[in-house]
Structure formats: structure tokens, C-alpha cells
Symmetry: C2
Subunit: 259 residues, 2 copies
């Protein structure tokens, strides 16, 4: 039987809220078994870019990673956020090690090809080096990924944290029975966006197709769910979506996804 691994992703909303972040990190540190953390960015990078006079470039409502923006993202996500999360986890007894995809060549990506839009220094993941991540885990270290990867040719690339989490979970499923947790500001996938308590507690392939037909899953939830089912189809054991407290059994209700 494969050993168990939890891959946990926290979003920018938790990163930005100091007391919520500390509560989460205590819970994460206390989780048993092998684990990996992936953290998103939050608005600090935007704020610091503004202070430095670097304009936000948006095209079609989407942010473009210019060279200057990338530098700020590497400073804030890879430096300030990542190192503070690591030192807090150490305080709570978890032997964290902070990583970008360049560190240990853990995540290789390709600069997104220019089609209608040039997204700049945005990376699409090509390969997760599961052997390197496994070596760290077996050396009693807990990898903490920021949302930065590299192309292997000296270029760092801004990469979606949700995708990093799912691709890491998929790659690690070769060696581990892997569960993927998406922690965000809602209790789970909701049947009605207006009703915070309308959590759908279990979604399998059949329920997923029904929900798509009924247009209950839409907008921001669509790519998230697509990521989740992609992970399940590629041998991730289960995916859970909900409030951060779910990783510590503090939440009664959250959404579990299986095939």
C-alpha cells in the first residue's frame, strides 16, 4: 500500500489575513503524514508594485506578467510570503522548506505561447519532478511551493497556484495515495451562490455532469472543478474543497470530489 500524502492549497485571502493564516498554519503543521503546501499570492504584490511605480497591465480583464511585474512577484511570493510561511511552520513544529519550481528543478514549465493575448512571463506546467519532491519528503521536510516555476533555461515564470497544486498531486500519485485540498473562503461547492450553507458534500462524475447541465457550476468554479476532475482522472485519490479548517476536521461540511 502506498503511503498517504496531502497536498494543500491556500488562496491569497488566507495569506493576507494574519490571524486566519496563523490558525491555518497551526492546523497544517499538526496534519499527520506526508504533506505539501502550495500558496497563492494575495494583493501584497499589487500593492508593492504600485509603490514601486510599476503599472498593472491588464488585457481582456486578465493580468499580464511583464518583466517588472515578475520581479515583484518573485520578491513577494518567493521571498516575503514564502519565507515567512516557512518560518511560522517551523515555529509550529513542521520542518517546512520553501520552494519555487526552480528549486531542485521541482516544476518545469513553458512560457505561455503568444496567441491573441501575450500573457508575458506566465508559465504552463510541463513536468513536476516527483522524485525530487519525494526525496525532500523522505528527508523529513515539508515542501512549501509558491506560485513560481521555471523553464530550465534561466527564466522564472508566474504560474497559477491551483494548477501547481493539482499537477503536484497528480505527479506524486505515482508514489503516494494523494489527497488534494483546496482551502478558500467558502464552505465548499454551493448549490446556490447566495446560500453559503448550500454545500454539495459529495460530487462524483455523475453528479458533476448533472451540475454542469443544470449550470450550477459556473464562472470561477468551472476551471477549479475542471482541475479537480483532471486530477482524479490522473490517479489523485480524492479532492476536497472548503474552508481552511477542514484539514483539521473543524468543518462539518465541505465538498469531497471522487470519480
Amino acid at each position: 500500500m502506498k503511503p498517504r500524502l496531502s497536498v494543500v492549497k491556500i488562496g491569497g485571502n488566507i495569506i493576507e489575513n494574519e490571524s486566519a493564516l496563523q490558525d491555518f498554519l497551526k492546523d497544517f503543521a499538526a496534519m499527520e503524514g506526508y504533506k505539501v503546501l502550495v500558496h497563492g499570492g494575495g494583493r501584497t504584490a499589487t500593492r508593492i508594485a504600485e509603490h514601486l511605480g510599476i503599472p498593472s497591465k491588464m488585457v481582456g480583464g486578465r493580468r499580464i506578467t511583464t518583466r517588472e511585474t515578475l520581479d515583484v512577484i518573485v520578491m513577494v511570493y518567493g521571498g516575503l510570503t514564502n519565507k515567512n510561511v516557512v518560518s511560522d511552520l517551523q515555529r509550529y513544529g513542521c520542518n517546512a522548506i520553501g520552494l519555487s519550481g526552480a528549486d531542485g528543478n521541482t516544476i518545469l514549465s513553458d512560457k505561455r505561447p503568444v496567441k491573441e493575448i501575450d500573457y508575458g512571463y506566465a508559465g504552463d506546467i510541463r513536468q513536476v519532478n516527483s522524485a525530487a519532491v519525494k526525496a525532500l519528503l523522505e528527508s523529513d521536510m515539508t515542501p512549501v511551493f509558491c506560485a513560481i516555476t521555471h523553464d530550465g533555461k534561466g527564466q522564472l515564470l508566474n504560474t497559477n497556484a491551483d494548477t501547481i497544486a493539482s499537477e503536484v498531486a497528480i505527479a506524486m500519485s505515482e508514489h503516494f495515495e494523494t489527497s488534494l485540498y483546496y482551502c478558500f473562503e467558502k464552505k465548499g461547492v454551493l448549490r446556490s451562490v447566495e446560500d453559503d450553507d448550500s454545500v454539495i458534500t459529495h460530487i462524483d462524475t455523475t453528479v458533476y455532469e448533472q451540475l454542469l447541465e443544470e449550470h450550477i457550476i459556473a464562472d470561477g468554479m468551472l476551471p477549479k472543478m475542471h482541475n479537480c476532475f483532471n486530477a482524479l482522472q490522473r490517479h489523485v485519490h480524492k479532492v476536497c474543497i472548503g474552508l481552511p479548517g477542514m484539514i483539521a476536521g473543524k468543518e462539518q461540511r465541505f465538498t469531497t470530489l471522487t470519480l
Copy 2:
């Protein structure tokens, strides 16, 4: 016989000069055997702090690490510099992994006690976790340290890069025959500061005492030499001081220190 390990420190002057940095990183990537890189900061942190309106606080000619300064140092040294050095080394075929002392709990330090001067968030090294560094080396990874450590209680601390290099070399000497390389902008320890070619090629304890008596070693070189002989007395095999090219055998003359 113990395997060989090279611990190489590069200063801010090399970090700031893009072509000198790339030349150095190519040479470092090509070095045989186990190796560790330690990099200093450079003036980027000061420049970014100025842009962000964070004043430099100096007391008695020495920089004080305020909370705001620490954040900038963590962003620039731990993020921008460290991650770019790592991705460049990957490009040159070296499987680098960027670390602060918090990562993998590799370097524990104590916040410097307040005596006449309060240095703020400056760390004095308490312990290098040689087992963790060894585990990374044996997983075929090359640790790249920035000048940041932690106190194990959630506090990151600004720490002298020369000291990190010597303390890492000392701790690793338990497991490796360790050579320590200080790369800087001079050809080595000079007999006459005005004459760049007056390199003293070999300094042992006897020569060191003579040089001290003759006041040939003074100013900035004094603490550096103290660090070096401290390392030698604590089982580091040899220490070399000179231009970056010495690590690739490109320099005819540099200073080698032994007991």
C-alpha cells in the same frame, strides 16, 4: 576518507554585476564534487527600500535592521536574488535549491542582544543543521543560501553572509573534507592595499601572527581573517580568498589559508 565539499561565498559586488555573475555561476555549476553557495546582498535592497520610502537607519556607521528593512531584505535576498541565482544555475546544469536558514531548519540563530546598540532583526548563528544540508547534497541538490536565518520561533533574521559561509563550512566538516572559498573584488589578501598584485599566496598561523604584528591585516580584512582562522581551527580543511575565477582555476594567484 571523507568526501570533498566546497563552500563558496560571493559578495554583493558580483551579485550586482550581471555579466560577472553569469561568468561566476557558470564556473560554480562546473565545479566538481559536493558544493554549497552562499550569496550576499548587494545594493538592490537599499534601492528598493528607498523606492518604498523605507529609511535606512544607521547607528555608529552600522546599518540597523528594522522590521520594514527586514521585509525588504527577505524580498530581495530571499526572493529576487536567490530565485534568479537558482534558475540560472539550473540553466547551467547545476541542480540548485535556494534556502534561507528557516528552510529545512538549516540555520538557527539568535536575535542579537541589545547592548550599546540595538541592531534590530540581526541574527547571530547558534547552529547549522548539518544533517539537513547533507541530506540535500546526497539527494543531488546544491544548496544556495541567502543571508537570512531564523530563530525557530517564527522570526526571520538578517545574518552576515561571510559568517553563514564559515559556520556552514565548520558544521559540514563533520561529514566532509571542506574547503571554504571567499570570492570578492580583490586578488586575495594584499601585502600593500595600493598594490593589487601584492597577493600573499599562503598564510598559515605563523604568517598570520606576523601580518597582525606588522599591521598588514587591518580594517575590513580583520574580521574576514578572524572568520577564516576560526573555521580552520574548527576543522575546515582550507580557506581560499580571491577573485571569483579562482574556483575554476582561472586565477594564477589568490590567498590560501591553512593552520
